[in-house]
């Protein structure tokens, strides 16, 4: 009980001093603007790489269609990517010098999938104080089916995967934007367990039916 007056003495000046700025500069200020870029139906054309595998590098070409429910939430209804694979020096050396069986190397041939896209960040940035560009940052989560083939050819095998990632979009006009996607397909395989197929993609997105 004896401490109470001391506590009160310490607390009340703090409360009073917190009120001073409010008394001097009351109110809060926001810049409220019409959202300049709004998406509706989006068709994406992208190129990218599958950079992780030490035995090959995949050069991706992807097509996708996304429908936007709101400015924050969208569904990438379908995406399909084909990978043109280039063997690395390591793989060539293993096959040539150590007679490793080429069938031991599985490569992604193509993949399809669907994702939910959540875009909580929308902002703008100044370029050299001369122009203002708008961008958004989004997260994706969904599923994929990957077709994996041995590098020696033969029938491919299908593997399910969980896809997640994040990306950024730079708006160029109401109909055109550019996006950078960083995604990872976590592939679930009975014989190989769980392994990752990350991808980096740059795409041009054409927007139809802009919401005014």
């Amino acid at each position: 009980m004896r401490k109470l007056p001391v506590v009160l003495l310490l607390v009340f000046p703090a409360i009073a001093s917190a009120q001073v700025p409010e008394l001097e500069n009351p109110g809060t200020i926001q810049a409220v603007q019409e959202r300049q870029y709004r998406l509706n139906h989006e068709l994406g054309f992208g190129v990218g790489v599958l950079p992780l595998d030490a035995f090959y590098k995949g050069l991706l070409a992807q097509l996708s269609y996304t429908t936007h429910f709101s400015d924050q939430l969208a569904w990438r209804v379908v995406r399909g990517a084909y990978s043109y694979n280039v063997n690395t020096g390591l793989r060539t050396q293993l096959v040539r010098d150590f007679n490793v069986n080429p069938t031991a190397f599985e490569q992604v041939q193509w993949m399809v999938g669907s994702d939910v896209v959540w875009s909580p960040f929308y902002g703008k940035t100044a370029f050299l104080n001369r122009s203002v560009s708008h961008f958004e940052i989004f997260f994706v989560g969904g599923g994929s089916v990957l077709n994996l083939q041995n590098s020696s050819g033969g029938p491919g095998v299908f593997r399910p995967a969980v896809n997640f990632g994040l990306g950024a979009r730079l708006f160029s006009s109401k109909h055109l934007s550019y996006r950078l996607d960083l995604a990872d397909n976590v592939v679930i395989s009975k014989d190989k367990g769980v392994f990752n197929v990350p991808s980096i993609q740059l795409s041009a997105a054409i927007n139809f039916g802009v919401t005014e």
């Binding site: 001097e24 009351p26 926001q30 929308y122």
Partner: protein, 505 residues
């Protein structure tokens, strides 16, 4: 009192607008103009050296080879040594003018073009010279020499249609300036309908009528509205028409209509716009009871880009808004801010000092109308005068000496005109400041009364009005003191009322 102040607020920019429009209008000639230049002992002039007539062809070759510096020296030598009656004399003057203009010596070029227009020694050169002079009128230029003495006094009978239209427009403007609308209309009637000059002439007539009449008619508003949509006018003039519509509607207490006109003012992307536009819009919104939006516009006026603007009313309006929401301490502080910020200027006015020495008043006076044009011309002459020295080596001794003398004389005259206009406009700004200071003192008194008003038993806080929700089509950026040009019209202030109402008993 408030309405009278607002009328004054709106009338002042309108008068400034009219002054801007009458671009050709120089100040009335003063009788002591000639006397102001003390007679200096003239040094004995050196004899003009004779030149080979072939120098003209060489100079033209240099000009078309892009060697304007060399061409200018040769052309000047040719002009100096040749009689006016020579066939190539006017051409030499013309290409000398072109060379000087292309070297950035616009005023010197303008002097030679003006000589061609006055002497009229070669009818084929004259239209070209007038065309070049037309371009020069779009940048800071000697208004007396070009607007008044060339376009204002030109015999219009023999000119090509386009140049004649421009001259008619300028002569009409001059008539308007001296108060003869009837004569002006005769000139304007000769302008071809649908040309840019015809639209600008209509605008000039409307502004002059607005300046002269106390009451604005409905027809006048409609005429300004029509001009606001006239594609032949520059964007700036269309915006001026919209502002005129807004001001007229405000005068008629049609605040919604005024707001609509303010919102139609189109600014280039990332252009911060004009401070007076924001302040006037803030007053219109205040009158409509949109005090949060009005406060947002006052936030805009605090942006660094408007730091040097002379807007005493800004502090008054802010104090009024705070007072209306019963934030008495901020209201008092906002009111005091005016006297604090302009303390030196107010002191200078009270002490009857030379107001042109006061930096704030001087800046405000130089920011608009005829004084602004005079200041810009003076600035351009200073720059060009410095540029002459750079070409001394190429020009040769005679042209260099001639241009140095020309720029010295022109600079002295431009300085005199600027000081004369500054003296007039600085007084208008001082009056504006004094009126605002008076209003602020009254505001401080009213706030002081409110501050110590007793709260009666049973009184309760007024239920705050709901702020407009942010819709899904909008995006909100919290303001943290960083101004973005694209946001200047979009600030919204959330400020709760602290007023207390007495409970019904």
């Amino acid at each position: 009192m408030k309405v009278a102040k607002l009328r004054a607020l709106l009338l002042a920019p309108t008068l400034a607008l009219s002054a801007l429009l009458l671009a050709a209008a120089p100040p009335p000639p003063t009788p002591d103009k000639a006397k102001s230049k003390p007679a200096e002992p003239q040094p004995e002039a050196k004899p003009v050296p004779k030149v080979n007539p072939k120098i003209f062809d060489e100079a033209l070759q240099d000009y078309f080879d892009g060697k304007q510096r060399q061409a200018a020296g040769k052309l000047f030598a040719y002009v100096e040594a040749t009689a006016q009656t020579e066939e190539n004399y006017a051409w030499a003057q013309y290409f000398l003018a072109k060379s000087l203009i292309e070297l950035g010596l616009r005023h010197a070029g303008g002097v030679y073009l003006t000589k061609i227009a006055r002497e009229r020694s070669n009818p084929t050169v004259l239209p070209r010279a007038l065309e070049e002079l037309r371009y020069l009128t779009e940048v800071p230029h000697d208004e007396t020499m070009i607007d008044e003495q060339v376009f204002g006094a030109l015999d219009l009978g023999f000119l090509p249609e386009e140049t004649a239209g421009f001259a008619h427009y300028h002569q009409g403007l001059w008539d308007l300036q001296v108060g003869s609308e009837r004569w002006a209309l005769i000139h304007f009637a000769k302008l071809k309908e649908g040309t840019a000059e015809a639209s600008r002439a209509k605008f000039a007539v409307l502004v002059t009528r607005l300046k002269e009449r106390k009451e604005a008619s409905k027809e006048m508003v409609e005429d300004f509205l029509a001009l606001a949509e006239d594609e032949k006018l520059s964007q700036e003039t269309r915006n001026e028409s919209r502002l005129a519509v807004a001001r007229l509607r405000y005068e008629k207490r049609d605040y919604e209509g005024a707001l609509e006109a303010y919102e139609k003012v189109q600014l280039p992307p990332l252009d911060p716009g004009r401070a007076t536009l924001y302040l006037e819009e803030a007053w219109a919104r205040y009158q409509l009871g949109q005090i949060h939006a009005a406060m947002g516009l006052l936030t805009t006026l605090d942006a660094p880009v408007f730091h040097n603007e002379f807007l005493p009313d800004k502090y008054l309006l802010r104090a009024m808004i705070y007072k209306d929401l019963c934030h008495y301490l901020p209201a008092k502080r906002a009111a005091k801010e005016l006297t604090r910020r302009f303390a030196e200027s107010l002191e200078a006015i009270r002490e009857r000092e030379d107001l042109t020495k006061d930096i704030r008043l001087r800046r405000a006076a130089s920011a608009q109308g005829a004084t602004k044009r005079a200041a810009k011309f003076l600035e351009s002459l200073t720059l060009e005068g410095e540029r002459v020295g750079r070409y001394a080596g190429n020009f040769g001794e005679r042209l260099y000496a001639h241009l140095t003398k020309l720029y010295d004389l022109s600079h002295a005259e431009a300085q005199r005109i600027y000081e004369q206009r500054l003296n007039e406009s600085v007084r208008a700004e001082a009056d504006k400041l004094l009126r605002s200071a008076e209003q602020v003192r009254l505001m401080e008194y009213e706030v002081g009364l409110k501050l110590y008003e007793r709260v009666k038993r049973g009184a309760k806080l007024v239920v705050p009005e709901d702020d407009a929700e942010i819709t899904s089509a909008q995006v909100a950026y919290t303001f943290e003191g960083e101004y973005w040009n694209d946001e200047l019209r979009d600030y919204r202030v959330r400020l709760k009322s602290r007023c207390i109402e007495e409970a019904a008993r």
